[in-house]
């Protein structure tokens, strides 16, 4: 009996959802837009750092440092410093910085003099690249002068973790978790709106005056919310190839994500007094929940506190599986963290909605 009542509420919720033109429009828009954006993003990474040089004398390799295409460097030669400066300013030819050698650089260096070499760097260039360029200039100078550097230690690179050289994570891959989470967030709003309408119009009071128990009602909302979020995110995942690696793991991660956002949807819906109120309450949750996904776009940029956000485990698990191809055992910590947050969010959502309904 309870099952048929829950099923009746779910069917009713689906009917209401499908008749709400705004929800349907947003759902379709999000699907189409995100799929389009995803496939337009570059799926490879150009690992070569292009440097502009204003002295053609140096177009040949000097000391092996500037050999085109090796060590991730490529040179673009410009006839004059002015031309080089314009190219750097405009980001022309993909160059990230320029080295303006004086016309007499070769002779001066060979004569043991100290010529001035100008580095032309755009404002946003990471300081590490600038240091690298300074080092390159020194290497060139030593090569021309025929003098070995004062100290020349042997360096040996040890790659910790996955060696991504030649196999960088593309922007498309980086965006994948964010796109999936964005869709889950949109469904948070849809569910919270449905809950809010039920509360605002007090239809829940009529439902609970029948033999339906509050747990039946909460179960129905939970199942509908999870089903709605999961079906859309799985559809999107299929369209953007999110299931290409370890599909069962991706499905479980998305299922937990759907449970997580359903919990937050119930909380937001309980507090929404009208459309704008529901939207604001939803945004209150959506913005912090998006932060780990944004952090994934800039690896290493996220501060430690991001790890306490409920979606951190979701994003981490998605990246681990889709980008790094990690196994179940390797993503277990992230999954456990996510599952704990799911439990907490869903329990909090059910508790708050229950209290809200009791006050009607």
């Amino acid at each position: 009996m309870t099952g048929s009542r829950i099923a009746a509420i779910i069917r009713k919720d689906f009917r209401e959802f499908s008749r709400n033109q705004f929800f349907v429009f947003i759902t379709l828009l999000v699907l189409v837009t995100y799929v389009a954006v995803f496939w337009f993003l570059p799926d490879s990474v150009d690992e070569t750092v292009r440097i502009g040089v204003s002295n053609s004398v140096l177009s040949t390799d000097v000391g092996g440092v500037t050999e085109s295409g090796t060590a991730g460097f490529a040179l673009e030669i410009y006839a004059s410093e002015e031309e080089l400066q314009t190219a750097v300013e405009e980001g022309r030819d993909g160059i990230v910085a320029g080295i303006a050698f004086p016309p007499n650089f070769f002779e001066s260096t060979a004569a043991g003099e100290t010529p001035t070499v100008r580095l032309l760097v755009p404002a946003g260039l990471p300081p590490e690249i600038q240091l690298l360029l300074e080092g390159a200039v020194s290497e060139i100078a030593f090569g021309i002068a025929g003098v070995a550097p004062p100290v020349d230690p042997i360096t040996e690179a040890v790659i910790l973790g996955a060696d991504r050289a030649g196999n960088q994570i593309s922007l498309r891959e980086q965006m994948l978790p964010m796109i999936l989470i964005m869709v889950l967030m949109v469904e948070t709003f849809a569910l919270s709106s449905l809950v809010a309408i039920e509360v605002q119009q007090r239809t829940v009071v009529a439902v609970l005056a029948t033999p339906v128990r509050i747990v039946d009602f909460l179960a129905a909302k939970g199942i509908f919310g999870v089903g709605l979020a999961l079906s859309e995110v799985v559809l999107l995942g299929l369209l953007i190839g999110a299931f290409a690696v370890n599909a069962p793991a991706v499905f479980v991660i998305l299922l937990l994500g759907a449970v997580l956002v359903t919990g937050f949807g119930m909380i937001a819906g309980s507090y929404g007094h009208d459309f704008v109120g529901t939207l604001l309450a939803s945004m209150l949750f959506m913005i912090p929940l998006m932060i780990p996904a944004f952090g994934a776009l800039f690896p290493g940029s996220s501060p430690t506190w991001v790890k306490v956000l409920p979606t951190y485990g979701l994003v981490q698990a998605l990246i681990d599986v889709t980008a790094d191809g990690k196994s179940w055992s390797q993503i277990a910590p992230s999954l456990l963290l996510l599952a704990a947050w799911c439990l907490a969010a869903f329990a909090a959502g059910a508790f708050i909605l229950r209290r809200r309904v009791a006050t009607l």
Binding site: E16, Q201, A206, T210
Partner: protein
């Protein structure tokens, strides 16, 4: 339709010493009343008197802080689901699913009640909505929504009907239709509790009325008994007197009252005859020291 194997109790509703407070404020204080099957009990009182709180406790929305509520021989809230299966409730607010049609609303609630092979047509016919069965409720007028609310309350052929302001704000024609539905349910044997602050509705519909004010029941009796006990037994007769109007009040308990009335009726120029019985509002004011408005 829902049926019950329980024998019909003598009292459909039996409320004893019920109390409920919102924080420190008592909304209902030591309320007791009972309703046998087939009776309509009207709760008459101003806004905030405790009528809706009483109904909410009967529906199981609120649990009383003290006292007992028995409905159909079962304890509320202890046997909430069993009671709710046999309750019909019409809420004060029009809590219908607006994006769904009238038919869909009724079918949905029939599923919640577990009513098998439910067909909404006869119910919508009774509510005068048979031509609007497949229109969305958002397109219904206020009166139509109220009638759909009543139809929804009757889905499970309830043994107890709880109606919170069922005709509030309706046009006279819609109100008459709703009252007719309520009367027929009582005739079928349902115990009906209705709240209203409309004294005419209470007078017209109720077998007994309960005056409630500040969370306390002041009195419960039939409208006739209340009017007899508190009204004046007299007749006011107005006759044409030349260019003016003559008026006399004849106390019915006085000697010769019958002859005086006969004389007045047979005399030329009779304009109007009115009994001088008190209205329920007059009696309510007498009990509560305030009117029903507000």
């Amino acid at each position: 339709m829902t049926t019950s194997s329980n024998p019909a109790p003598a009292l459909a509703i039996n409320v004893a010493g019920v109390r409920f407070a919102y924080g420190d404020t008592f909304a209902v204080d030591d309320v007791s009343f009972s309703v046998p099957p087939g009776e309509i009990l009207g709760f008459l009182g101003p806004n905030g008197a405790g009528k809706s709180t009483t109904i909410k406790m009967l529906t199981g929305q609120l649990n009383p802080d003290a006292g007992t509520i028995e409905i159909l021989g079962m304890n509320m809230p202890g046997q909430r689901e069993s009671i709710q299966a046999r309750l019909g409730v019409c809420f004060e607010e029009k809590n219908l699913y607006l994006s769904m049609t009238g038919r869909e609303n009724l079918v949905f609630f029939a599923r919640l009640f577990g009513v098998r092979d439910f067909e909404p047509e006869p119910l919508m016919e009774r509510a005068g909505l048979s031509t609007r069965l497949d229109d969305r409720v958002s397109e219904y007028s206020k009166g139509m929504r109220q009638r759909l609310m009543m139809a929804r309350a009757l889905i499970n052929t309830p043994d107890v009907l709880l109606l919170d302001e069922p005709t509030d704000g309706l046009d006279p024609v819609s109100a008459i239709g709703i009252r007719d539905l309520i009367r027929r349910e009582a005739d079928r044997g349902a115990a009906v509790v209705l709240t209203t602050h409309d004294m005419h509705e209470a007078d017209e519909l109720s077998d007994r009325v309960a005056f409630i004010n500040q969370g306390t029941i002041l009195t419960i009796d039939t409208p006739d008994n209340l009017k007899l006990a508190h009204g004046q037994r007299s007749v006011r007769i107005r006759t044409r007197d030349g260019d003016g109007v003559g008026e006399q009040v004849i106390p019915l308990d006085e000697a010769g009252a019958e002859d005086r009335i006969k004389d007045a009726v047979s005399a030329e120029g009779l304009m109007t005859i009115h009994t001088e019985e008190a209205t329920l509002e007059d009696i309510f004011v007498e009990y509560a020291g305030r009117g029903l408005a507000g």
